[in-house]
């Protein structure tokens, strides 16, 4: 287990800070000793403690079956309220305990986006506009408010001009952005994304990731599970590594991703540029002090070696 470091996400300046010292109202997500067994699968989560501050972007990584989706589903109460099973510990979202509040209530605070947009979209809306308005009308907002919120959300995901298109005529990337818009319309404090680009082609991936990066600027708290480590390394503040239902490592994105050997042992590949520095330092006797986790950092570090011609 590594030293837990907490970074102020939005100032651009990395200030190490312990989460325990966070003022209570700053904590948007709090998990305390959460353990969970599905009715059919025991020990899906083991003793998870986690605190997330407002505006933080948290990456959740780990092999398939490590508990990533289960962890995300505890955040809006789907686990255990919908799935049943045995739940221990406490999850508090924006001051609301998931034991005391229904999934419907929690949904106004936490928006969950699934891997496959087809699991998310209602299937009954005939237009992008209607699809985004669906959740709001269920919550009983007046028409004018709905209209404003819908158009705003559609704009945020870059789908302005698509209002009258059928959700089924959209590409995978467009559908996933629509799914995000349906969630944003409810103005949640926390956006939870479960491998949002896993099923998309490269265009779709970059469209969706660009939207997520834009949302980072809006102080929205984001929790994203993803296998695309090289992409995560460009925008998340902190990473949680799950393995066999437990947190194996947590820390700043850099602290975690540069633990190349540890990650490899549990079946996770660090970004290629991080692996490169690791090989040079550990096998070829180089001594780079700083290890890059994305392309722009790598370019800087290796350019400093000077002319190699």
């Amino acid at each position: 287990m590594f030293v837990i470091k907490h970074y102020e996400a939005t100032t651009g300046i990395l200030k190490p800070r312990m989460p325990e010292t966070m003022r209570k109202e700053e904590r948007v997500i709090e998990l305390e000793n959460v353990s969970y067994s599905y009715p059919t699968t025991p020990n899906a989560l083991k003793n998870i403690t986690l605190k997330v501050g407002k505006g933080e972007i948290i990456g959740v990584i780990g092999p398939n079956g490590a508990g990533k989706s289960t962890l995300l589903k505890t955040l809006n109460g789907l686990v255990p309220q919908f799935y049943g099973g045995e739940f221990k510990g406490r999850v508090v979202i924006c001051g609301m305990s998931t034991e005391e509040h229904s999934v419907a209530e929690l949904t106004t605070k936490v928006g969950l986006v699934f891997q496959n947009p087809e699991d998310q979209l209602s299937g009954v809306a005939t237009s992008v506009y209607e699809e985004v308005a669906f959740g709001l009308s269920m919550l009983g907002f007046p028409h004018e408010v709905i209209r404003e919120k819908v158009l705003d959300s559609i704009k945020k995901v870059g789908l302005s001009g698509f209002e009258n298109r059928s959700p089924f005529s959209l590409s995978g990337g467009e559908q996933q952005r629509l799914a995000i818009a349906t969630v944003l319309a409810i103005k949640p404090e926390v956006l939870v994304l479960d491998e949002p680009v896993a099923q998309l082609d490269p265009i779709g991936k970059s469209e969706v990731l660009n939207v997520i990066k834009q949302l980072k600027k809006e102080k929205l708290t984001i929790v994203i599970a993803e296998h695309e480590i090289e992409e995560l390394a460009t925008f998340v503040d902190r990473i949680i590594v799950l393995y066999n239902g437990g947190i194996t490592a947590t820390g700043s994105t850099k602290d975690v991703l540069t633990k190349v050997e540890m990650l490899k042992n549990i079946g996770i590949d660090s970004p290629s540029v991080t692996e490169l520095t690791y090989v040079l330092n550990n096998e070829y006797g180089f001594s780079f002090k700083d290890s890059p986790i994305n392309l722009s950092e790598a370019i800087k570090i290796y350019k400093a070696l000077g002319n190699l011609k």
Binding site: P63, N64, G65, S171, G172, A198, Q199, D201, P202, I203, G204, K205, S206, H227, E230, G267, I268, D269, P271, S272, V273, E275, L276, V279, L280, E283, Y284, G285, F286, L295, A298, I299, Y302, K303, L305, G306, N307, L308, K309
Partner: protein, 277 residues
């Protein structure tokens, strides 16, 4: 023989009814023993092209030859013995009650004696690491293993050519590594020609030696992995990011780093030679 043409497309067009043009005048030669990645956006024609290689689709215009046989003259079940196709969605492929039965279906269907069928099933399951799941219901496996099962069920047919449609989608890093090993072994040990459709460029850099880039039903680039990954502009136009190491090599090229490095180990070796020799 290695180097012989195994698949040839000549002036190939495919139009889905009513008039969606999916392939436009494709000319292509695939030689025995090649390991090819077909890349490009969804809707670019990758799967449509690959489905012509075993006759699942027939040309609207032009022709496709497999070992010199025109695919229009042979039924798909005969062509399937030469070209094995693994679907992107495993649920489109699986129908048996046990893992063993699933893998036995192909060779049984080809009329092989039960002894040979059994030998091939055992072999294929061993190669993909599913031997212990012989009696399991396919749908009780996790997604990654189901995907491996669909590959094993084609391996047992021992085709000369494998087409794998997006094998890495939905896989974690462990699954990707397992697949990379399987694909390399198919190619190196069985001597099979392997065609992989994928969006995963790190995977492409690791396993394949030739890239075919498809955009809007046309082949816009066809060459060695190293050549294609150096053509940043061309890839950008197709919204494809080359592997991180290729991008780094490109940026460091003015400082003397060769542009054609695509793997971590290659670049590490380059620095090693520069500084420690």
């Amino acid at each position: 023989m290695k180097g012989e043409v195994t698949i040839k497309a000549e002036g190939l067009w495919h139009v889905y009814p009513p008039n969606v043009v999916a392939l436009r005048d494709i000319d292509l030669e695939i030689k025995k023993g090649e390991l090819i990645a077909i890349i490009g956006q969804n809707g670019g024609g990758k799967t449509t092209l690959a489905k012509h290689f075993n006759g699942l689709l027939k040309p609207t215009k032009g022709r496709v030859l497999v070992n010199g046989i025109d695919t229009r003259e042979k039924p798909p079940n005969e062509l399937a013995l030469i070209v094995g196709y693994v679907f992107q969605n495993p649920m489109h492929q699986i129908f048996s009650k046990t893992v063993y039965e699933e893998v036995a279906f192909g060779p049984r269907n080809a009329g092989l004696p039960e002894e040979e069928v059994d030998k091939r099933v055992e072999e294929a399951l061993k190669k993909v690491g599913l031997s212990e799941y012989k009696d399991t219901h396919p749908l009780d496996l996790d997604y990654g293993k189901i995907k491996l099962l669909t590959i094993a069920s084609i391996m047992s047919i021992k085709p000369e050519v494998y087409c794998l449609d997006e094998p890495t989608t939905g896989q974690d890093h462990v699954g990707r590594r397992t697949l990379a090993d399987i694909v390399k072994k198919m190619n190196e040990e069985e001597g099979a020609t392997v065609i992989v459709i994928t969006h995963d460029m790190r995977f492409v850099a690791e396993v394949s030696n030739r890239i075919i880039l498809m955009v809007d039903g046309k082949i816009t680039a066809d060459g060695s992995v190293r050549e294609i990954f150096q053509q940043l502009k061309l890839l950008q136009d197709a919204f494809i990011k080359p592997p991180q190491i290729a991008q780094l090599a490109y940026e460091l090229n003015p400082f003397g780093v060769p542009k054609d490095l695509i793997k971590v180990r290659e670049m590490a070796d380059f620095f090693q030679n520069k500084f420690h020799k």
